[in-house]
Symmetry: C2
Subunit: 443 residues, 2 copies
Amino acid sequence: MVTATLVQRLIDSKYEDLPEQTLIEAKRSLLNWLGVAIGAAWHPSMDMVMGLADTVGGKAQATVLGRGVKTDILFAALLNGMSSHIFDFDDTLLETVLHPSAPVYPAILSYAELKGLTGKDVLQAFVLGCEVEERLALSLYPSHYWRGWHITGTVGTVGAAAAIAKLQGLDHLRFSYAIGLAATEPTGLREMFGTMTKPFHPGKAAMNGLMAALLAESGFTSSTQSLEAKRGYGHVLSEEPKFERVTDRWGETWEILKNSYKPFASGIVTHPAIDGAVRIRNKHSILPEQVASIELEVHPLVEELTGKTNPQTGLEGKFSVYHCTAVGLIDGKAGVKQFSDERVKDERVVALRDKIRLSVNREMQEDQALIRATLNDGRVIEEFIEHAIGSMDVPMTNAQLEEKFYDVTADVLPADKQKQLVELVWEFDKLEDLSQFFALCSK
Amino acid sequence: MVTATLVQRLIDSKYEDLPEQTLIEAKRSLLNWLGVAIGAAWHPSMDMVMGLADTVGGKAQATVLGRGVKTDILFAALLNGMSSHIFDFDDTLLETVLHPSAPVYPAILSYAELKGLTGKDVLQAFVLGCEVEERLALSLYPSHYWRGWHITGTVGTVGAAAAIAKLQGLDHLRFSYAIGLAATEPTGLREMFGTMTKPFHPGKAAMNGLMAALLAESGFTSSTQSLEAKRGYGHVLSEEPKFERVTDRWGETWEILKNSYKPFASGIVTHPAIDGAVRIRNKHSILPEQVASIELEVHPLVEELTGKTNPQTGLEGKFSVYHCTAVGLIDGKAGVKQFSDERVKDERVVALRDKIRLSVNREMQEDQALIRATLNDGRVIEEFIEHAIGSMDVPMTNAQLEEKFYDVTADVLPADKQKQLVELVWEFDKLEDLSQFFALCSK
């Protein structure tokens, strides 16, 4: 009954019944997701998929964000899903390591552009698609993830299909077919992490989910109990599927409210130290040349995962809490540019990095850090981070999300378009026509 | 090392080194596969996918077999892969229930048509793609299948990617990427059996495998150890992956030689009884009106799975050994048409069906049956089937494959095209240009 119940709840759901806070979070997710999607639009892997899209030569139906071209709706979903996960800088449901926006928003935007839908349509579909994939993630986790599945790809497909089926207004039977067609294509092995295939997973999830819903709309049949059947999605993909998580308390709790956004482009264990460095910089306006030494007290995992003292490439920089802290103090941020090969080799960054000493404090929580800077003039400045920015306890503010958006899209969009886009996202529920929005997404 | 070894063996393989028998079996597989693909070309599910292909509107690059149109290479692979599995009448590797041609031939034909390749190219790519998927199937089976995976979709993707990568002549690294990109998209849950989504699986496998190889060719990166890694394909998809089956004795044994073809369009347990009925008809030229009664002695599974005495639809007819035997005796075959709703309700068929009595013989093997017809004039005619036609012991002859081809394509192709196609398939290794072949595949 899980599939049937889920489908009925999705069919019954009305825009008016969605709590205001879910729509606000959908906009915050959109701003964060859109920024990283536009920012990575010209990554070499995007050129490769764009090349394939050109080879098959579908109609110009949906915008490839940041690239100023349209391609067919399926390839647009794949491309936008991929680009938004390339920086590893998209949103996260921390409990399950799911990245909810990357598979769902691209499918919705492809379909919305094709059909001329409104901002409200998009937001509603996202809240529901997000709810589906997050509940599915919670039902499959943890054995699913630990077995080796990239959960963003596997549940994202179903979330995307559900979002589109809602937009299509499918009847119960066809809605179930859409879920079934999506469920039969779980995409993504964790073995692919570190290669271009990782961001390919949410992209393919968006493409497959959209395709599933489009086929279901035409009456293409599938199982109507795909999630709970003996040889269906839940039992095949998890050792202990918790089906009650899929539908229990539907409408009372909203998983989207737990969506979190990364303020820094490195792994989450480095965030407390960076947060501390940024605060010291912002409060005291010190230059790196004024610093005699820095002591960092951190959770043991920080040293274990990011203890690289002498990184040589941008990617290695992400695994060096020394580099992370140094750029935090010099640049006041740790975005995509702080992890370029050039930045890692920058003289001032290297000089400051070498002044940092790390000590492990087993009493500390993972989202805590203490940073103590001794200046040349003898002053000692200290910051204790109780909960790093971006954690559930200290979510990024709208202003911080805007700043991140400006930062990650700086190389792709002119300033005026950045500004207009940010304004449009906050007013997204008022957009009757999305064409201006799509036009602003490229230079 | 499994992935690396497999890739190296595929790269090193030369057409000249393939045993003659593998190429003959590739042609037999092609004839069988092509017939069922063309025969089901106008199934409603094909119209639905064709509709989606038209919506996205890719270039006319590759032929949709039986429909007289071209669409883009990806959708052509999907459509041809689907149609060839709709009748459930395609080839089988009996040990693993894998249907090897449905995911691999469509990908190869799409690519070959786009690039103007030769018949030899196609046959070589099929032998190798088939070898890859069959060895993978043997390495994952049985836990993979029993957990709920539709093995034709899951291993077919990798087989298709390998076949295309061979045609592309990829270097070792890019060939590994193609395998990795395919491995990360296992498609197909057994829960979908009985719906249009079942044949969708090999179609999507063909589409995804082709796409994987095309992306890998452009340098799209993936894992180079996708099959054997801790969180890779084998361990995620099977409880006891037997990696040695993937590469051991490569070049000494050829799995394609075990490919079997179904002579009758119903489940395999009914085949011995049908075989017996056809033989009685052919030897004695009796009319159903001459028959007083028929006794069938069969393996217990026959009654359990196909004991329906009064079927009302074509599909139910497949689960009635009474109907199967009756059409075998009247029509001398049990092809797609013998399982139409009309045929199941035909007066002569019903009259003969009602004269059949079933008895279970626990001593019998699954591929055995005894049929004893008592005629009105008192004569008793008996046939004991020791191994049913289509089993490994009594493979279908070329003439029988031709007859099946004529039968399944009769509604789609005119007789002259049928004849020319059959001739072309037997001469496939001599085709320098496939355009005539593709032109013959539709009315």
